[in-house]
Symmetry: C2
Subunit: 125 residues, 2 copies
């Protein structure tokens, strides 16, 4: 007998809020979740693993349209692995670019802070 999980449990296991999880379901990122007699969602382990993956993609700022693409490919089985790899590869490049930008930003901030520091020192003379 497999265990089934409530949305709150899934929330703590994935780091996504219950509303976020419902939202992803409504957007089709998650397949329609099985309901119990009271209409309450019961999540399987496999579903939770997929939601965890979505959570990570979200963390990486992958736009929902791309997540949808990925989800669609996934639902089409193993023949789509190359395409899925492409999506991930592309997003990796996006993140690397972003990291570079952020380093530039750090330099800029340091520069500005240095200028302010000198102004402060002059004031205290």
């Amino acid at each position: 007998m497999d265990k089934y999980f409530s949305i709150k449990e899934v929330s703590t296991l994935t780091g996504l809020s219950p509303s976020n999880i419902r939202y992803y379901e409504s957007e089709g990122l998650i397949q329609r979740i099985h309901r119990d007699d009271n209409g309450i969602r019961r999540f399987s382990k496999q579903e939770i693993e997929w939601i965890q993956f979505l959570g990570k993609m979200k963390d990486m700022e992958m736009p929902i349209v791309q997540m949808k693409q990925y989800a669609t490919l996934r639902s089409q089985g193993n023949t789509t692995i190359k395409d899925r790899m492409n999506i991930l590869e592309q997003h990796k490049q996006y993140i690397l670019l972003k990291i570079n930008k952020l380093y530039e930003n750090i330099n800029l901030l340091d520069h500005k802070l240095e200028i302010y520091k000198q102004m402060e020192e002059k004031t205290n003379e």
Copy 2:
């Protein structure tokens, strides 16, 4: 005779769209810009420099509330430099954290890609 710039010129000089510039003005991030006889905005050099700075803060994903704080402090003169430094210092920490997260994400992607690669190789055997 100082030169004055149109919103389109300011847009290319700052990298912000005209609507974005108007939006920042409406939000009070930019002081009310001088208008000519036809009600058209004419920007001074100093105003453009400030908008460039805002553009950089935007690039760094500084939330508008913080930009507003910064703008308010700036308008209060040189006594507020320490406070402004604090805002920038805080945001620097935010960016450093973000960079770390992104590196973790890269690792995750590499791991997933590696798994896919092995699946591919197996399929081709």
